[in-house]
Symmetry: C2
Subunit: 440 residues, 2 copies
């Protein structure tokens, strides 16, 4: 096949430039996809992760890193959880970070009185509104919940501090109860109301519908908190923003109760596709890797192999059919640009799925001069050895260099063969197949 | 506070039993949420994972495990990728599995002729339809694509083998081009058409809208393939089923190009919430852990700490406020039941966020007799030590046993104190706080 087949397809030149199809839909006038804020809860929800034990010094280090990245809020464990929790909260409030500092308490005056004395910029109040939680957790009815909420809200506001009121387990709460309580707290005035998928049961269309409904009832901002038990925490956060939510709770690597919540890095991967200018101007994306490493080390976990952005293979391309197109234009198989995150792309050419385009690229990197036909021939050799065992880059380079020395100094062929090692055996025993397939 | 506060809330008894609110919406008559099928692509997409090198024996072991689990289809690497790929495909076809065996080829007669001779039950044909791929990968226009598709489809059907036609990079393809080609192949007759989010850019509402549109154009089943670059692969799969897709491509742990595709285990977590009877009757969920371990070992990765279902903390509850309710009724903080997956729940009580309900449960496990007030007192001791350093279960048990021996044999108090170790020092230096908070 000739190279001419790979020429640019002639597309109609009259086509107008369209806006980013993965950006906010202009029809969704409630969408906050390009106007969202982050509440990082690594030091609250994340402290509820099974492995988490943060010293004061580690909490401060994490808070500073999050602030440097650019999160809008940092949420801390309740000061009534333990004496150390209270003094850590006070210490972080004194750091003078750009991010606003929040603490997270039960909807109870005892907690509120302690919280407002810590120096926080805001208090996040939560109470379970689902039948499950009312029955098995706190045992209070909706009237009692509304009454406590109003008392706590008025008290916190009287101290000049931001207040958020959130239900817990919102997606298993009665819709009328929910809307009633949100309408009540919105009418007395709160900075935000919160929706929490405490058990991780929600799905994207359900989230969207609840957001749209809630936004017709309240005028304040809506914050969302999604657990990841069923793997939808990033998608639910995105869909919530489409439906009018403004703030998303995240944690570094998603650490939290059970398998955690919406991860900071994963949400950034989602949002940069939808609102690249907003995300790149607001957050220091190249810091994600360092923050994840910091927290992973503190809680003694490894970065998941398949983590968005920072997983070891997130920007690795293997199959020949992919590698070929990536070499021509990275956008063909990448919606994320590794350079936006201070990372690099990697073409995995040392395997049996490799294609001659990837090998040709390697030949060029090695500064060898070989024709396309010769690259195809050496690719066939590499694929044959790849069938036998895993290949290292050194293996592939050896095969290429060997082949190159053969074609440039054919008189040495027999001498090389006398070495008798695996690679040379392959040279002799397996003549270049004429059937070598392109770009599989 | 008295225990009576935790009595069951009196809810209206006239309330009728409602269907599972996380189940398929009866209004969505196109939904296949309770009627889906799985195409496992661990041995095709998964072979494109950076770390994957499967021997013939390992491929057979994985295929058998997937078949035992109950996947409907197993997709294998193209037989033209390498000689070994072809012979492995033939070997797996001969195993006589219940699952149908598929192989995945380019839309080209050269590939199709090899594929139909391997013994597979079906052939999955793919071609890039996006402007990106047409320009930088294969360089063919839509007329050429349609012509090749028809030729390959008619040929495969003539051999009595199932045929799927899929576009690649569907979400960046021109909608009119897409619908045109799907309408064409549907009219000549195919088993399935496929939608592929090759770069992982799609979001749930976009997926739903494309499914709804596509289902008005074709009468055959729709299969979906979602990459996970932006963390939405599970949610997109779920939303696709809601919109009328029937089959989802999965891989064990999601392994595939870059950070992979919809993971088998994660999708099961999502689907069991929506369609518990269907999922439990069709798939052996308690095998998920073994299959994940098998594949993780083969490709030399660890199970991510936050993996749905099998992550080490997926069923671990830490905060006191959670642990208390979980002890009363697991449904309060769990949408998944660990027993459905052959796993167990774990209440993490050895930390400073612990609550007295969790400690009381431990006291009962230790078969000690202590009042609620005494449990609250020992909880305060545990929280104070938890502020100082990470606690092991042994630490907590020592504190509890020590406290128990104090209250039952007070005359020994001074003797115990003479041991002078950390735990006893704490007993002496820190009298039981009257401010100990319940259930934080």
């Amino acid at each position: 096949m000739s190279n001419s087949e790979f020429q640019q397809v002639t597309e109609s030149t009259t086509q107008v430039e369209r806006p980013n199809p993965y950006g906010p839909n202009p029809a969704d006038y409630l969408s906050n996809v390009a106007n969202f804020q982050l509440i990082d809860s690594t030091l609250r929800e994340g402290e509820q992760f099974a492995n988490a034990f943060f010293t004061t010094e580690k909490k401060i280090e994490i808070a500073k890193a999050l602030d440097d990245f650019g999160v809008d809020y940092i949420e801390l464990t309740s000061p009534v959880a333990s004496e150390q929790s209270r003094s850590d909260c006070e210490a972080i409030c004194k750091l003078g970070l750009k991010a606003k500092i929040l603490t997270h308490i039960r909807c109870h005056m005892d907690d509120a009185k302690v919280a407002v004395e810590t120096g926080v910029d805001g208090v996040d109040v939560v109470i379970g509104t689902s039948k499950f939680l009312r029955q098995y957790s706190h045992g209070k009815d909706m009237n009692y919940i509304a009454k406590s909420a109003i008392e706590v809200i008025e008290f916190v506001k009287s101290k000049g501090i931001e207040i958020r009121f959130s239900s817990e387990d919102s997606f298993r709460s009665d819709l009328v109860d929910l809307l009633n309580i949100y309408k009540t707290v919105d009418s007395i005035g709160v900075n935000r109301v919160g929706i929490a998928d405490t058990v991780g049961c929600a799905n994207p269309r359900q989230v969207y519908e609840l957001m749209r409904t809630l936004k017709t009832v309240v005028s304040c901002d809506v914050e969302c908190h999604f657990h990841n038990d069923t793997g939808c925490a990033i998608a639910n956060a995105y869909t919530a923003l489409e439906g009018g939510a403004r703030l998303i709770d995240v944690a570094v690597l998603g650490i939290g109760e059970r398998n955690g919540i919406t991860p900071l890095g994963g949400l950034m991967a989602r949002m940069i596709v939808a609102a690249p200018e907003y995300v790149k101007s607001k957050y220091k994306l190249h810091k994600i890797r360092d923050i994840e490493n910091l927290v992973a080390e503190a809680v003694e976990v490894n970065i998941p192999f398949n983590n968005p952005i920072t997983g070891f293979c997130a920007f690795t391309h293997k199959a020949g059919i992919h590698a070929k197109a990536i070499l021509a234009n990275p956008s063909t198989y990448e919606i994320l640009n590794p350079h936006d995150f201070g990372l690099k792309r990697y073409i995995h050419f040392a395997n049996r799925l490799t294609g001659w385009n990837a090998i040709k690229s390697r030949v060029d990197q090695l500064n060898l001069n070989m024709s396309d036909e010769q690259c195809k021939e050496v690719t066939a050799k590499i694929k044959r050895l790849g069938d036998i065992r895993p290949l290292s880059i050194d293996d592939v380079d050896s095969i290429i260099k060997d082949f190159h020395s053969e074609i440039t100094t054919p008189q040495l062929r027999n001498m090389d063969a006398e070495k008798g090692d695996d690679l040379n055996s392959l040279d002799i025993d397996a003549p270049a197949s004429k059937k070598a397939k392109r770009s599989q």
